[in-house]
Symmetry: C2
Subunit: 735 residues, 2 copies
């Protein structure tokens, strides 16, 4: 695999020009002139500016306070230093837009105050980070401080006397840039971070690069772009663009952390584009940053990022997305769908050139609806480490999405689950992923960090809609082991009318057990909503216990077999690997029928999962919350089908979305499943054929050629129901 090296080459032969004029990071002369001219005509931008001016005026009305660094995250000095950079940005922009010198003066005076204390600062007294900062307890916050402060300095640059610049740059910015790059004596860890392929390095390089551009310091800019050694081979922003995203713009930790990573990428890219247009940074690697923004938007449902790996509920309204969407639109104004995201999900725009362009073009009516498409987002720098598949309803009005996660581990924020499905429909999460066990910023909940239950439950396989073998987690829940492997995408076809299929495999999660999952999203003429077929195959030489958990949102409606409900006492389902967190609320088995039906209601719609079972299958209902001394877990509900002591087992389910439930007019319809039976007809090493039957004599058959990837191959299989024929690795037949 050859890396694109043309940019380093180009740059190293050119003098870095630095900022020819100020401002030139997030504002420009032309942009400011446009903003001034348009005042009062674009309500959304007027609001952004009013917010900025209010912040700036509040700053003017108060004393400059630059406290001695003392407190950790959330504490006084920490929050005060954060507030200071927000104030400086507000005042910098306010000066540019109003021409009122008091705003510029405020920024300069505050910078001078920082310049007075910074040289004498050692490491921050709170010792919780391997890379402590000086103003903050961790260097990461110091990088974020400098990114913001660079923008403010850029705005007021022309107002400073040469002596003032000398003071501030010598005492504050250069030492800080050096600190971010090299640390201080006693801890040089920042150098490693600065050159790492990691989002903390993105913040650090953005900070050093942006202050470098503002100060016209080409050395700092080169180091930011190409790493400390300026070779582009051992760090730097360009290498991060090469390595942190897959060629599809996917970020290995998942959507939630892609959201976080995109912020410094876009801010710094915008600055580079202004100051070094010859780099064509937004075109780099086939437009990788635009791809990353697009992938991020696609990995969301109803504006909320899909939850897998460590994830809280965040969405398009997160501040990172405002930056990303505004800057991406300003850099490629042909993408009018970004305006739709800004208009519908974000209630503010940046008070910058980019925000102005967004607000103005929304006002001009240029927004076009954000379109979702079924796609595979490949993981791994070269797209060869599995991926996340998202199947969308072809009719956008149906608004449903089915995901299959078959990626690599996802670094420190990854969870131990492969081949996990999630389903979103009708505005709701229907089959859920717990996401992260964390109450961010809530001191009482483990100081706002990931709680211990993140490791003991949320990361464990049983917390996910996947296969769990012998009540253990994938890769034994061992990080180093999981990091070695990734799942394989075996097949995707999103192009057929009415039938979309994805199939993935995982051979390493459990030694000696091969896992295959094929999910089909099928639009039938006889069911109310698209149907999902789920075929989860486990094969092994040895006997195992197989658990098939389904985490559902909403209220349990019915099960088609007798079950014993925990009435007056309740115990946990297990002791370890996440099972210790599950209350066993009911259990039973189905000796009347080979099809086990579970129906629940989410929102105003019903969902029925019909699964092929035997009288030996055990079904349990569970609820999270056991072994949770501090109520750190949310209460979530699951249904688990358990097969015992088998070499191979194939779970086959029909997931049917049905029903109209209108409480307001008290009308309802189609509240019970139409499925009359599901069965696996054939299950050999070569072929698996499974059928789901519905009222009216309808059938949907899922055909899998287990060993063939040949799209042209013709398959003909004898089943108890007759011969089934199809072409290619996977097919769905409807009758």
């Amino acid at each position: 695999m050859k890396k694109l090296l043309f940019i380093p080459m180009l740059l190293l032969t050119l003098a870095v020009s630095g900022a020819a004029q100020h401002p030139s990071l997030l504002l420009t002369h032309e942009g400011v002139a446009e903003m001034r001219a348009a005042r009062g005509t674009i309500p959304a931008f007027d609001a952004a500016m009013a917010r900025t001016l209010a912040g700036a005026d509040a700053a003017l009305a108060s004393e400059i306070v630059v406290p001695e660094p003392r407190d950790g995250g959330g504490g006084y000095s920490h929050e005060r230093h954060k507030l200071n950079y927000y104030e400086m940005v507000d005042c910098g922009i306010a000066w540019q837009v109003t021409g009122d010198e008091r705003y510029a003066r405020r920024v300069i005076d505050m910078l001078k105050a920082y310049a007075r204390i910074y040289p004498s600062l050692g490491f921050h007294p709170v010792k919780l980070s391997n890379t402590p900062g000086r103003l903050f307890w961790q260097t990461l916050n110091e990088s974020v401080w400098l990114v913001h402060t660079s923008m403010a300095y850029d705005c007021v640059y022309d107002m400073l006397t040469p002596a003032e610049r000398e003071d501030i740059e010598t005492n504050l910015f250069r030492p800080m840039a050096d600190f971010l790059m090299n640390g201080l004596e006693g801890n040089r860890g920042n150098n490693k971070v600065f050159n790492k392929m990691h989002n903390h390095a993105t913040w650090a390089t953005a900070a050093v690069g942006m202050i470098g551009m503002t100060m016209n310091d080409s050395t700092l800019v080169r180091k930011a772009l190409y790493g400390s050694d300026e070779t582009g081979k051992h760090g730097g922003f360009i290498q991060q663009m090469d390595e942190l995203f897959s060629s599809d713009g996917y970020f290995t930790e998942g959507a939630y952390y892609l959201r976080y990573a995109i912020w410094p990428f876009m801010i710094f890219a915008q600055s580079i584009d202004r100051n070094m247009p010859e780099l064509k940074i937004f075109e780099y690697r086939d437009g990788i940053l635009f791809k990353a923004v697009s992938t991020l938007l696609q990995l969301a449902y109803d504006g909320r990022f899909m939850r897998f790996n460590d994830a809280l509920v965040k969405g398009y309204d997160a501040q990172e997305l405002v930056y990303a969407v505004n800057i991406a639109y300003n850099a490629d104004r042909s993408n009018k769908m970004l305006l739709d995201v800004a208009a519908r999900y974000q209630d503010w725009v940046l008070p910058t050139d980019a925000g102005f362009a967004v607000a103005r073009d929304i006002e001009r009516g240029e927004a076009q609806p954000l379109a979702f498409r079924s796609a595979l987002y490949r993981d791994g720098r070269d797209g060869d480490c599995g991926g996340v598949a998202v199947i969308r309803s072809t009719d956008p009005a149906l608004n449903s999405a089915l995901t299959l996660k078959a990626t690599s581990h996802g670094l420190s924020h990854g969870h131990y689950d492969k081949l996990t499905i999630a389903y979103y429909d009708n505005g709701n999460e229907v089959l859920c992923d717990y996401g992260a066990a964390r109450w961010i910023n809530i001191e009482a909940k483990y100081k706002g960090h990931y709680t211990p239950e993140n490791r003991t439950f949320a990361m464990q396989s049983i917390a996910h809609n996947t296969l769990v073998v012998d009540e253990g987690s994938h890769f034994g829940g061992i990080y180093d082991e999981s990091m070695k492997h990734h799942s394989e995408i075996l097949y995707t076809d999103f192009s057929r009318e009415g039938v979309q299929i994805v199939s993935a495999g995982e051979d390493n999660a459990y030694p000696g057990v091969k896992m295959r999952r094929t999910v089909a999203y099928v639009e039938t003429p006889f069911l109310q909503y698209p149907l999902i077929l789920d075929l989860l195959q486990a094969t092994s030489d040895k006997n195992h216990n197989y658990d098939y958990p389904i985490w559902y949102n909403g209220q349990m409606v019915s099960l088609n077999f007798p079950y014993e409900r925990a009435l007056t006492t309740m115990t946990t389902l297990g002791k370890d690997n996440g099972y210790q967190h599950l209350w066993l609320t009911a259990e039973g088995s189905n000796s009347d029928s080979g099809t086990t039906c579970f129906t629940w209601i989410t929102g105003d719609r019903f969902y029925s999962l019909n699964t092929a079972t035997t009288p030996q299958s055990r079904m349990v209902m569970v609820e999270t919350g056991a072994s949770d001394p501090n109520y750190n877990l949310r209460v979530e509900k699951g249904y688990i089908i358990r097969e015992r002591d088998l070499k191979n087992h194939t779970f086959f389910s029909s997931l049917e979305t049905h029903g109209t439930y209108d409480l307001q007019v008290e009308q309802s319809d189609n509240l019970t499943s139409s499925c009359t039976g599901v069965k696996v007809l054939v299950d050999t090493p070569e072929y698996t054929v499974a059928v789901a039957e519905y009222e009216g004599g309808h059938k949907v058959t899922l055909c899998v050629a287990n060993l063939s990837a040949d799209k042209a191959a013709h398959h003909s299989v004898q089943t108890p129901d007759g011969v089934v024929e199809w072409d290619g690795p996977r097919d769905v037949k409807m009758e």
Copy 2:
């Protein structure tokens, strides 16, 4: 108490004029002319009309089907007869608006089909009702059928030949009206219902009255208005208006059933107003129907009806409210707040004169924001049976509401809880009432009826935020006993700047125990949001156990005392009276402090309940779901403070709303309670003085003169913290 009898007198001396022209129920000639002229200019009404025409066209495209009555609610013949009246209404209106005779013909043909079968129908074969219908399993549905069909007949009346009228009236409408009034041989129960003070009678009288007006039958109209004996003293619509609402427009079963009852009242009143304007029906009893609509709108939070007694989640978008709001606005076009309700909460308008007026005037921009006010809604026909108090934030932007329920039982839909509080804030239910245990229309959940858990849990006192004595329910959970009594409102003052107070008492819920509750809603200059003080006093000659349950919505954040969490096994809190449904998830006691603090998060805000306790107080955390074999209950969470073996106990709490929690920008503030202590300073038969203290040395003192209702009385009480003085029965002091 003298009843207003002027209307019966007036009417009995006048000839009932009947319908001078058709249509004259929900449409008029003038209205239709206006609608026709305005087509294409008022989008909301165009949409209503498009919906109606689509329904009418679908009817035209299908066969007339009038099945033999056979099935119960939800079954085929039941739903088909319902669909038929909707179709007839659509076609009747379509004929009026388009002049296309096919629509009129369809109504006429269907009426003839009904006329052919109706005379031969005995009672419906499904025997589940004491008052079976003929087309439907219960007479109630037959009344609703006739209300709708009257509207359709009114629309097409002029298109029938005299012979057709003769056929339909003789074979269908007159026998049906007679059936609704008198039943059939073998079951004359309908006569009792027709003359009852009950909402089923409202439907029956509306049906008989509306078909009477359409057929120009003054006898039917008189009986509908004044009961079978036409005296107005033993039944009829006018007496219902006198007796079913309190003078504040409150309906004794509560907001949820007021919603249901208002529908036939408003439809029939509109018809009366058209045909007998001399009755001034909307002015009757000081505008009681307008008051009922207004009270209903006020007994809601964010468009959803407050949940007490039997209640599901319904709101302004319920179809009953579309009728009520449209008709009320058409009858009093000065009430522009009704337009706001229609515009913001209802996505359709009636395809009638009233709906047209609403759509047109919204389009004209006449809507005015619905304003909420603190008020007491008195229960009992004469307003002397307690009531529901609603305290609203004075700043509408704060959008919070605190309720105290101190009513009579509320007939068959009442729950066994007096002096219950609920709190709504920031768009969320914060202190909750479970409402009803029912999954309406969901066959699998007890056939959609109230589930057994409604009686065993939802109705029991422990399911509510009130005082529970000796683990029993109020009035022993005995209906006849509870129906004998009502709570007393002791004091209200919503007029003071920054301090709103309501106080109520209940002496009969537990023999020998006097309950008093005083809640104050206080806007302080030092807390982020208004503060709620809750003083719940129990006094008795004998020792009792007192439970103080708080049902909260959201996630438990912290308790300020050590507690033992159920980790691997869990049991129920009790065995009866609702306690059997509670899982005991944790328990503990607080020997470190006399102030016990519980903090939780709901939405993006925090709530802290600080309560005065002793080391003997036991605190438990509970969750619903035990003893619930069919998962009929929702999972809800409660916190209970338990005081054992005491004659008297006063629970005093500060409920503080605090915190800014913005996950999207990861900024948060004020996440811990500011309360430094709460204590009851004085608690004698004469006086109770309790103080809550907050950071910064602030104090809020609640002063209660237990025995004095004298607003002018001056009180001076020695407390451990010095002398406290105030005037009147209740006061709040702030320092």
